[in-house]
């Protein structure tokens, strides 16, 4: 079992769409996949039309023992979803009262480790205890970065956080997201980063694309309703890169 987190300190950078589309591609390529929605907003669960079980809550999630009971099958073969619940907003508080509060997530996922080849985490923004759990549990942390000055700055902060807290920064894999080719600033930042730090960012750039935005209307991965768009093709390419890393 490998755990891939899609994370960024910033919100609105394309974490949820990436998590949804990568999970879909993994399942399509016969990886038994669990998409774990950790964001109390529940956007990725919404994309897959999955609501949490009435009896599910952040407390039950943190207990971990019976999470299988709350996992739901998606409309796609090999892909299950553990939807989030609004009570996840209290997760921070609940975690802080626990021993080894920064290492709970891996323990919670132990019961399902033999059931899935891959677990994809759709993460909430901000650096919190939840985020630290994600950092310690994941084998790969994908970071969608919009090619803007502020986004690059946030990425630098994250790297610094990893260094300061002796976390394995080799697990970090950024990629450019919501890229608008016509914007000079986007092209310049991408070009500069390739020159300065080759091989750090993924080769695939996810474009700013209306089809990706329409996932909220279709409530499906972009590949299912607009497979020929640049957005859909970019996610297919990104999955291939991720699969190689895994």
């Amino acid at each position: 079992m490998r755990i891939v987190a899609v994370y960024n300190i910033k919100g609105g950078v394309g974490k949820t769409t990436t998590a949804a589309n990568l999970s879909y591609h993994a399942a399509l390529h016969n990886y038994s996949t669990l998409l774990l929605d950790l964001d109390p907003q529940g956007a990725v669960s919404y994309y897959f039309r999955v609501k949490p079980h009435k009896k599910f809550s952040s407390e039950k999630f943190l207990k971990g023992k019976k999470i299988q009971k709350f996992i739901r099958g998606s409309d796609y073969e090999n892909l299950d979803v553990l939807p989030s619940d609004l009570s996840y907003r209290h997760m921070e508080l609940l975690l802080s009262g626990k021993k080894r509060s920064r290492r709970q997530l891996r323990r919670i996922l132990m019961p399902v480790k033999n059931e899935y080849d891959l677990i994809v985490l759709d993460c909430p923004p901000n650096i919190t205890i939840v985020a630290e759990n994600i950092f310690r549990a994941s084998d790969l942390i994908l970071i969608p970065v919009i090619p803007t000055t502020l986004s690059m700055l946030t990425y630098s902060s994250l790297k610094k956080f990893f260094k300061d807290n002796e976390l394995n920064s080799n697990h970090l894999k950024p990629f450019f997201s919501m890229v608008e080719k016509r914007k000079k600033m986007h092209s310049d930042i991408i070009q500069k980063s390739i020159e300065k730090t080759p091989d750090v960012f993924c080769n695939t750039h996810i474009p700013y694309n209306s089809s990706v935005e329409k996932m909220g209307i279709h409530r499906e991965p972009v590949h299912c309703f607009a497979p020929r768009t640049s957005g859909a093709r970019a996610f297919t390419k990104l999955w291939k890169e991720v699969e190689l890393i895994l």
């Binding site: 016969n30 039309r49 999955v50 609501k51 079980h53 996992i71 739901r72 099958g73 409309d75 299950d80």
Partner: protein, 521 residues
């Protein structure tokens, strides 16, 4: 995916009406599928079935799925005129690896087929999420010679979706209210298809597993073994004649060799004139297939040879392999013709008759000896003979002597495998020790045979011309590389031999077989 459930439907079942009942509680999205023919594929020795994989073909679509869970494993489209057979024909590397891991050098053949008329529906909740899938399947056996279709099953399949148990309970209640029986675990489709044509899966094995009993006489046991070997031989004939894959000929040849080895080992069990005559006839049959097998082996190394040589030289292999293909074709036609000839059918029929009536003939020197006593003595004798030959083998021993050891090991292996059911203790341990040595000897022999075949080819090349030069260079390169590999194997002989003839193993054989001998056969 949850396990599929199945309900046998009554004749009066009305699908549309049933959907209308479901629509009272859920949204239902229904569709009718075009009638389709599902072909079930496997290798002759059931390699996919043994790996719990169902391999199906519907038109140009080939799909691999788990037999029991229905979980999708892989799929591919095949638009060529000839149906898919061998993994070597597949282009995507990951799929090629996946298929060749399962089927090896074997080809897939159709083992059963079903005609399906399907209507399906997704049951959807208020969020537009599918919470269960149902399908009505009418299964038929395709038209027989008289043009009749045979109806097999009319079933409703239910596919619950994980995490929606409460909703599924409501669906079950609807079924109940509709007067349908309680659903049971669905029978895999491949089992239904095989059952309908009365085919038992995994029945074929090239291994001889005759259930021998200790109270039998050696002649009775030998007859049982030989009869089982006739079955293996004849079941491979069709595959050789139709040239389905190279393993048919391989299994066929191994069985001839086993039959001959048994006849050699059991001297005095059958009347000498009869036994020797059949041994000779089977010997001639085996010899007839030698060239074709050698060509099969060479062709199977085509890719490996190409990779062994640098591209500049490897071009020269193309004409070489083209000529091998032609020669193989000639040999194939010869063998295929012979297997359909009266002469061959006479051999099999004479042999079968002999086995059937042998108990009525005069007893021979050992025909009535007890099977355990007789074989124990022979097995131990074989082991001692191997020890004697093996003791003097080192890295400088000529090929012929190594070959003699290999043949002795084969004879012992056959004896151990034939008579394994007679011994209380499991014989897998001595067989495993022997197998290790045999693998090494086999690899060494393969390399010698390949080198010889390549050297022979060089001798036959035209003395002039660029083509010949390129081929000679390629073959020369290969011979050099193969000889390096061969010498590397030689250095491993010493350890493998001393493992097999060590004091421990000697004691093992003594304990296992010496106690079972009462008198010298």
């Amino acid at each position: 995916m949850h396990k599929r459930l199945e309900i046998e439907l009554p004749d009066r079942f009305d699908w549309q009406n049933f959907l209308a009942c479901l629509r009272k509680s859920f949204s239902v999205s229904a569709r009718t599928h075009p009638e389709c023919l599902v072909e079930f594929l496997d290798t002759f020795d059931w390699r996919f079935f043994k790996a719990s994989i169902c391999f199906t073909r519907i038109g140009t679509k080939y799909e691999l799925s788990d037999i029991y869970t229905g979980k999708h494993i892989a799929e591919f489209l095949w638009r060529r005129k000839k149906p898919y057979r061998s993994a070597a024909e597949i282009i995507p590397e990951n799929l090629k690896t996946k298929l060749s891991k399962i089927q090896g050098p074997r080809a897939v053949i159709r083992i059963a087929e079903l005609k399906c008329k399907t209507s399906s529906a997704n049951i959807i909740n208020e969020d537009g999420k599918t919470i269960a899938h149902i399908s009505k399947e009418q299964l038929f056996l395709p038209q027989d010679d008289d043009g009749n279709e045979k109806a097999l099953k009319n079933i409703l399949l239910l596919y619950p979706i994980k995490g929606y148990t409460d909703e599924f309970k409501i669906i079950k209640k609807t079924l109940d209210a509709y007067g349908l029986p309680a659903p049971i675990s669905a029978e895999p489709l491949i089992i239904t298809a095989l059952g309908a044509i009365k085919v038992v899966p995994c029945k074929y094995s090239s291994r001889i597993r005759t259930p021998l009993k200790a109270e039998l006489s050696i002649q009775e046991a030998a007859v049982m073994l030989c009869r089982d070997m006739v079955k293996v031989m004849t079941s491979n004939e069709k595959g050789i004649i139709e040239d389905i894959d190279i393993e048919f000929l391989h299994d066929y040849r191994v069985t001839i060799r086993r039959t001959r080895a048994l006849l050699t080992q059991l001297k005095g069990v059958f009347s000498p004139d009869k036994g020797d005559a059949f041994k000779q006839r089977f010997g001639a049959l085996g010899k007839m297939t030698n060239h074709m097998r050698d060509y099969d082996v060479l062709l199977s190394y085509r890719e490996k040879y190409q990779k062994m040589l640098p591209p500049v030289i490897s071009q020269g292999l193309k004409p070489f392999f083209q000529s091998i293909v032609k020669q193989r074709r000639k040999e194939y036609l010869k063998i295929s013709k012979y297997l359909q000839s009266n002469e061959y059918h006479e051999l099999i029929s004479d042999w079968s008759k002999f086995l059937k009536n042998v108990h009525e003939t005069e007893p021979t020197q050992h025909s009535e000896d007890n099977v355990v006593e007789f074989t124990s003595k022979r097995i131990l004798k074989r082991y001692h003979r191997i020890v004697k030959i093996a003791e003097v083998i080192d890295e400088n021993t000529p090929y012929d002597e190594v070959h003699a050891l290999r043949i002795e090991c084969k004879k012992l292996r056959y004896m151990l495998e034939f008579f394994a059911p007679l011994y209380d203790k499991n014989l897998s341990d001595p067989i495993a020790r022997l197998k290790k040595l045999q693998t090494l000897l086999g690899d060494f022999n393969d390399l010698c045979v390949q080198s010889d075949a390549l050297s022979d080819k060089i001798k036959c090349l035209a003395p002039k011309g660029t083509k010949s030069l390129h081929t000679a260079a390629a073959l020369g390169g290969l011979i050099a590389l193969l000889s390096i590999d061969r010498e590397e194997i030689r250095y491993k002989f010493k350890t493998a031999i001393s493992d097999f003839i060590c004091e421990d193993n000697l004691l093992y054989f003594q304990n296992m077989f010496a106690g079972k001998m009462e008198s010298d056969p």
